[in-house]
């Protein structure tokens, strides 16, 4: 099997999960209501836990150990999409990001459940329940906030428009798309994007929000191959601050 393609695929998913989980953990203790604070933290923990599973898989394929890969690389070595590295902003942006990103993620893992690369297929099946909950959470908030006050609808609409170019960057293609499709590893970003568009359209159609004209938006790409916003390097520096005090130490 095409190991290079698998490594490429694993890196981008794992980095996405790590960075979105890290970002969402910033809400802990600062959420809009205690119950939501708790729920959002759990989902951030799930994402980081999932990234760890994927980094272990990479480790099995000859890459470094998870702590080294996750904490010791620089921004230009990261494969996450730019979307996940953006600051948490206010709750409107964070919930819109959760909705757009997690919807892509649940479809990605649904597709990967039948991957020819068995470890990934197994992990994808295992993540299903967790992500199902995340989607349930995102959709309930979309429905509630997207149909409530003038302010909440406007905030969500603005956030949706800010987020969309970055969200489309999730589907940046890799140089291995054809190889992965041929070998049944992954059915490709284009298929994912189409399914994603259908699902978000459906949820948004049950709100007072308007879906931006996706076809005419230039996606913010580059993240998959190390081109990031100015937000990622400071995030990584912060994440590794303690570890770097004494990198050889057991913390």
């Amino acid at each position: 099997m095409n190991t290079e393609a698998i490594i490429d695929l694993l890196y981008k998913i794992a980095d996405d999960q790590l960075i979105i989980g890290h970002r969402n953990s910033e809400w802990t203790g600062l959420g809009p209501i205690l119950e939501e604070d708790i729920a959002f933290s759990s989902m951030a923990q799930d994402k980081i836990g999932q990234s760890l599973v994927l980094y272990r898989m990479l480790n099995d394929l000859g890459e470094s150990d998870p702590d080294t890969i996750a904490f010791m690389r620089n921004a230009d070595q990261f494969h996450c999409c730019q979307f996940v590295e953006l600051p948490i902003g206010e709750f409107d942006f964070s919930i819109i990001r959760q909705f757009l990103f997690d919807t892509s993620e649940i479809i990605r893992f649904e597709m990967l459940s039948s991957s020819a690369y068995e470890p990934l297929a197994l992990a994808s099946k295992k993540f299903k329940g967790e992500i199902k909950y995340h989607i349930m959470h995102a959709n309930i908030f979309m429905k509630q906030l997207g149909n409530a006050t003038e302010e909440s609808v406007k905030r969500l609409q603005d956030a949706l428009e800010t987020a969309m170019p970055y969200a489309l960057g999730i589907f940046e293609t890799s140089e291995y798309e054809d190889a992965m499709m041929d070998e049944g590893i992954f059915a490709g970003e284009a298929t994912l994007r189409n399914k994603w568009t259908e699902r978000i359209e459906e949820v948004i159609s049950n709100t007072a929000l308007k879906l931006p004209d996706i076809g005419n938006i230039e996606p913010k790409t580059g993240g998959r191959y190390g081109k990031h916003t100015a937000h990622l390097q400071p995030l990584l520096d912060e994440m590794a601050e303690v570890l770097r005090i004494d990198p050889g130490a057991d913390w």
């Binding site: 600062l30 959420g31 836990g49 130490a249």
Partner: protein, 328 residues
């Protein structure tokens, strides 16, 4: 995390004069039998007020307590620590939720409690007015401040008020994780590289006094709480909590080759009691009344979080909704 040192309302001798003597004696007999009081039961006004005050202070301590450790949530070193610290701080928020709910059953709304916290009308544990300078401070809190809270909470879990006991039963299970996790972190620093050891020792030096103060002023200068003890509101004296903590944790700190910054600290071989330099209780009062290193920040952050979340809650609120006191 809450260590006692509770600020109860002063009680005059006349406090119970207006209570129905028959109901009062039934109430006290129920507690005497070891049965819990439930929200719908008759209870003396003073019992209700003091419980609200205590549980509310406990709840505030949890939500404010999420901030010092939260300081390190984005910087925890490595996956194991990152996941654990996220879960740990989450638990503190969860504890606040449980405790506010328990206090609500006594008739004070969560809105009113949060108002009183942010406006400085009700207190929270003083220890959280100190900063977590380094990762090691965060580890100190996870292990030793939580250990102090456990001493207090284990005692309070045997108290008389049903909803508070139920909340504490959940909380103490989660605290077992905090304690082990915190200890694990401190062990790694203390037995690690010279840099790590130094970090840990410095954190201990910083936290020693606030830690001793965590349990509240000594019994000889504390308000009289005999009735509260009889009603099983207050279960253990401040000095009792402090002695228990010293007894359990000083040897565990010493066995890691760490020192405690107090020349007088020793266990009296005759009495078994720990002796230590009395912390400055005037300073304690000053800090609890708002003049500590982080009081302003803690409350300003809480307020900012509440204000930033306002539009969300406003959007979620249904026009016809009505408040009903939770059942248990």
């Amino acid at each position: 995390m809450y260590g006692g040192g509770n600020l109860f309302e002063p009680m005059s001798k006349d406090a119970l004069k207006e209570e129905d003597p028959v109901k009062l004696s039934e109430f006290e007999a129920r507690i005497e039998r070891g049965e819990k009081i439930e929200p719908a039961d008759w209870m003396p006004q003073m019992y209700r007020r003091q419980l609200i005050r205590m549980i509310e202070q406990h709840a505030h301590s949890e939500i404010i307590g999420a901030l010092p450790e939260g300081t390190w949530i984005t910087r925890a070193p490595g996956f194991k620590r990152k996941l654990a610290l996220m879960a740990k701080v989450q638990d503190e928020v969860g504890h606040a939720q449980l405790l506010y709910s328990a206090a609500e059953t006594l008739g004070k709304s969560r809105e009113a409690m949060i108002n009183d916290l942010i406006n400085g009308k009700s207190k929270y544990s003083n220890v959280f007015n100190y900063p977590a300078f380094t990762w090691a401070d965060c580890c100190f809190i996870s292990w030793l401040v939580d250990a102090g809270a456990i001493v207090n909470q284990m005692a309070n879990a045997k108290g008389s008020y049903g909803p508070y006991c139920r909340a504490l039963a959940r909380i103490t299970i989660e605290e077992a994780f905090h304690l082990k996790y915190g200890h694990h972190c401190v062990i790694h620093l203390a037995t690690g590289t010279p840099t790590q050891r130094k970090m840990m020792q410095e954190a201990i030096n910083r936290w020693w006094k606030p830690m001793l103060q965590f349990f509240g002023p000594p019994d000889r200068i504390s308000a009289h709480t005999e009735v509260l003890m009889k009603w099983k509101v207050k279960m253990l004296s401040n000095d009792g909590c402090r002695q228990q903590w010293l007894d359990m944790y000083v040897p565990k700190i010493w066995e890691l080759g760490l020192t405690l910054p107090d020349d007088k600290l020793r266990q009296n071989p005759d009495t078994g009691k720990w002796e230590y330099t009395e912390p400055d209780w005037d300073e304690f009062k000053k800090v609890i009344n708002g003049d500590g290193p982080c009081n302003k920040e803690r409350l300003a952050v809480r307020r900012t979080a509440e204000e930033r979340g306002r539009w969300v809650r406003e959007a979620l609120r249904k026009p016809k909704s009505e408040y009903v006191v939770p059942l248990a």
